[in-house]
Symmetry: C2
Subunit: 187 residues, 2 copies
Amino acid sequence: MLRIALEQFCEIGYIGTSLQNIADRAGYSKSSVLYHFASKEALLEAAIAPAVDQLDALLTHSINRVSSVELREAFVEEFIDYLLEYRLQAHVIINQGQSLAGIPTVDRARGSIDRLSESFMAELPTTAQRIRLGVALAGAAYVLVAVPPMAEEVVPLADIRAALIAVVAELVTPLAQQQSLNSTPSH
Amino acid sequence: MLRIALEQFCEIGYIGTSLQNIADRAGYSKSSVLYHFASKEALLEAAIAPAVDQLDALLTHSINRVSSVELREAFVEEFIDYLLEYRLQAHVIINQGQSLAGIPTVDRARGSIDRLSESFMAELPTTAQRIRLGVALAGAAYVLVAVPPMAEEVVPLADIRAALIAVVAELVTPLAQQQSLNSTPSH
DNA sequence: TCAGGAGCTGACCGAACGGTCAGATAACGT
DNA sequence: ACGTTATCTGACCGTTCGGTCAGCTCCTGA
């Protein structure tokens, strides 16, 4: 039922998804949905909480890794894998985050994203570098979040993963090479 | 008033934005909004129609340009400038397009995007190439659409434009070089 | 056998939604 | 001065929203 709710939140948006809508798709009544979850907001929080927890854990042990080329590449791989696993949750947080401000779990997620952003910003002084990073991360997130409905099985997921890691690494690693010189070139 | 409505549609989403909300921000009553626009849907269409018209015009005279390197670079520049001009409209169409299916102008916009996508796909056979293109276009669109609320004036718009054109061109031009050999290298 | 709790539901509530309508107000050409 | 028109509004309508509640059906342990 969390899965169904999450899919609806992605497709129609949290505000646009009614409890009746979720109940119909799940084969239950609206009252039954509200029996398992205290409110619509609690349902959203339960649906995205695992993804937010995982994001927080990922960043906590990766926050210092963005400064060298090798570690940055490892971070990119982990980040892509994270997006692959929590595509739907990421979609909700990224695309509807600002209209969902005030919901604790959503605010927590946005706080984590800000932490990540700031740790990059601190060592990327120029606009060009920041735009590069933004295109890489947002592009990767959006590709994973927007295209899979149609593909998913016609294109091997492993191929998508490999291609994404390659292009994001290409966009992100030169940033370190041209800015911080205290790391050895990767090849 | 179209501007106010458009901003609300971006922030809270079309479904989540009430006519009362728009009326309050515009300093009018809900009835007055419905006097100028026959319905909420007509208000959305009026708000995004110019952007959709412009997109259609851009693609119509650029659809054959994606096959050579120089023309592709010119297309990238025009595309970025388009996104810069119609940021809010693009935001609504990209992020809420699927939940707004059935509204004629929205469907028209999605048709144009599909045309663009197919003209690229036809000559980009591998998953890696398509992912590259997806990251480039989606990343550029998302950066322009998501970050400006905070920046806009602290960072010169010209810098953002130049950086975006550079990174998108870098991602997109190699695609033609490695696939179609009937064009001369640009440098 | 049966008391009791978990799961589920239909009926219902106040609020807010998009939209209609008659009428108030103000501006303008004659 | 006056009729016309454009602009605007409050009152109101039916519908749907998130949420509450009494009660129904099971399953289970003593």
